[in-house]
Symmetry: C2
Subunit: 427 residues, 2 copies
């Protein structure tokens, strides 16, 4: 039976979950994987925390040097988070000849070119299943399950915090700020929620997933990003009335015009499986030229689901040692010059505005859209207070530039009180 030594850098939520799985299921891995996996070393400043998890004192390292010089350690698990220390420690592990498993999406999105180059040089593995969509094996699926396919679309709900907030806003008809506060109290959102609610976390994941899906480097700078802080309960209510849920989608498309990558709040028809992904669940939808549509669904975060992905990588690394995946494209800190990116997105749009209720106003508006080549597929007026109506429009596929041009023109009309929201729609 092969012996495998693991080190864990950081015993936070995910590190603790990883430690628990590796120790609780040690006998199970002997019988099912023919691997005897031992946590040989942990690096955790809070020694009490380590001891309370059952880590033997002898396995608590006092420095990264002690971890990476330990000859019994084959695989280093990095679950510290952040990029400064984590990057340094991972590079030290690699240059000491250890394979690395990480859940750190920011690190992978920003520095995988550098980490991979180092790993290649040392002939070790770099694994990051846990960086995207928690316990859902989306990266294994892209690398080892979808190889037959040219993937044309990848879209998903890849951030649990924002999905929890949007779900609650929808279910309770509540305001963004109130739900955010509740989510913070329950531990679903950070005290500083920016990384989640402004979409940064989703762009890290989309950078990783779209690069693997399209076999072309896509950096976070290539990704258009909009968060959910501007979404109101009115948007959600009106979307629902029109048959849609609002989800923060990470979307990547690869077509004849080039690659389109964006994170933005999106209206999804209630009949679309993504519309039923609620709370902190995540899901990723893929379209390939052979497989057609597939979807993977599961918990996007949490100690044990994310630990499941990390331990899966540990086992994979141990079983396929020497047989590592390196990107088949030029993995650099920028996209290749030959990669074209779409910046004027084509999409269906949902537009909500408030108008003075005057005869002829609708015809005046629709003629603006018509002049800009935009077809409207849904028009609904709702009476508001006296003399004011709320108008909901849904367009056919239109370029963002033509939508913006139309909205600018419309805003100049006296009959238009306000344009409340302009949101993209995905089928």
């Amino acid at each position: 039976m092969k012996k495998v030594g693991v080190a864990i850098l950081g015993l936070g939520v995910v590190g603790g979950g990883t430690y628990k799985i590796l120790t609780d299921n040690k006998e199970y891995f002997k019988s099912t994987q023919n691997l005897d996996i031992t946590v040989e070393s942990v690096l955790e400043l809070n020694k009490e925390r380590a001891l309370s998890l059952g880590v033997p004192e002898s396995a608590i390292a006092s420095s990264i040097a002690e971890v990476v010089s330990n000859p019994n350690v084959d695989i280093v698990v990095e679950v510290i988070g952040g990029v400064k220390v984590a990057r340094d420690f991972v590079l030290q592990a690699i240059s000491s000849g250890k394979s690395v498993v990480t859940s750190n999406k920011e690190l992978v999105a920003k520095y995988c070119h550098e980490l991979e180059a180092a790993a290649k040089k040392m002939n070790v593995g770099l694994y990051f299943e846990a960086s995207c969509v928690g316990g859902v094996p989306i990266i294994r699926t892209l690398i080892d399950g979808m190889q037959a396919n040219k993937i044309t679309v990848l879209k998903g709900i890849v951030n649990g915090t924002t999905n929890y907030i949007l779900t609650k806003m929808s279910q309770d008809g509540a305001d963004y700020q109130d739900v955010l506060k509740e989510a913070q109290k329950l531990g679903y959102a950070e005290a500083n929620p920016t990384a989640d609610v402004e979409g940064f976390d989703s762009t890290y994941k989309l950078s990783i997933l779209s690069s693997l899906a399209f076999n072309k480097k896509v950096t976070i700078d290539n990704i258009h990003r909009e968060g959910i802080t501007g979404i109101t309960k009115e948007d959600i209510a009106y979307a629902k009335k029109s048959g849609f849920a609002i989800k923060l989608l990470a979307i990547a498309k690869n077509g004849p015009q080039g690659i389109e990558v964006r994170v933005n709040p999106t209206l999804v028809p209630l009949s679309n499986p993504l519309a039923t992904v609620n709370d902190s669940f995540n899901a990723v939808f893929l379209t390939g030229d052979s497989v057609d549509d597939i979807m993977l669904y599961g918990r996007g975060a949490g100690a044990l689901p994310t630990g499941s992905a990390i331990v899966s990588d540990v086992i994979y690394a141990a079983k396929h040692a020497g047989d590592y995946y390196y990107a088949p494209f030029k993995n650099s800190d920028t996209a290749e010059k030959t990669t074209k990116f779409v910046t004027d997105f084509s999409s269906k749009y949902f537009i909500r505005m408030r108008l003075k209720n005057i005869v002829g106003v609708l015809s005046k508006l629709t003629s603006v859209f018509s002049k800009n080549g935009i077809n409207l597929t849904y028009v609904k007026q709702n009476a508001m207070e006296e003399g004011v109506v709320e108008l909901i429009l849904i367009t056919d596929i239109s370029s963002e530039s033509s939508i913006n041009k139309s909205i600018e023109k419309i805003k100049t009309f006296d009959e238009v009180n306000s344009v409340e929201s302009v949101l993209r729609v995905e089928d």
Copy 2:
């Protein structure tokens, strides 16, 4: 670049799809996989069919001996179907030192112990991703993505034909026989539909998937099987009214009582993601001790989706040559004697019956259930023609034996005209 020679046995629907993917995406596989894959040989009695797909005449073999003796062939794809010829040909391929990729669920379910033993002896690979759930990488997920988990539940819709029939019956309020005829006309059901509608196909898949999920041999003989031929449009209508869809589920559970494996029509709450899997789509839901719940969803059949799984196996076999998966349990033609199987299933039940509308009848019935330790969680009476009511009951989790005992007793009552259906319910 590594050269890989492939032979395809059988150019039917799936064989044709596989040929198309391998030839259309040849350059793509060079750049993304660093593999130069060539279809060196095909075995197809209908030579016209092969030529019309673009197979060069020189690659059309006239016998299996010609295929397996071809030194340029590294991997043999078996897509003939059936077990007699396929088994013989696969064994010949293996004993000639070729790795085998097959989509043949009946072959794998019935003979994988024999094929795997032969493959082990020759140190070649045996791959069968395409045998279950078409293009969805469920087997790769079980083997390479869920290793960290003790899986406790696997349940899914793994047969497209029956799911199409049940979906149509639900959407159109149509009778089984009418929808079956339509499905046969459209090519979704075979002229002899037995393998699908009686659940045999699902048991083959469940045998394969549950063995991999639980790391214990589960044979088709261990699986309780009920088909959909007894499901009426009334069952579907009443289920829908009570908030459920009826699906043919393949269910495997591994608990303290032992392993429970069954294929049966099941009521699934409309809020369960499996309830929204319609038409010929398939989905598999897993629960693991770390990952919690995950679901994979996609096309369960078709030339290109199934071809996607086959080509994924071809690429995996080529990239991980020498590094093969063999079952970590005793892979025999029977389950191990130490494996306990549950035969008195515990489940919630949906019971529909017709009663004479007489005061006191409900109390007489409910006391029978109560005496057998069965809790009722839902009771609804619908008036039918004069003097007759339709009664819908849903029970809490109860053993099948206690349900059967209750039903037998109830059938003896004069007030009971008929027990129309007794179906299991899964949350």
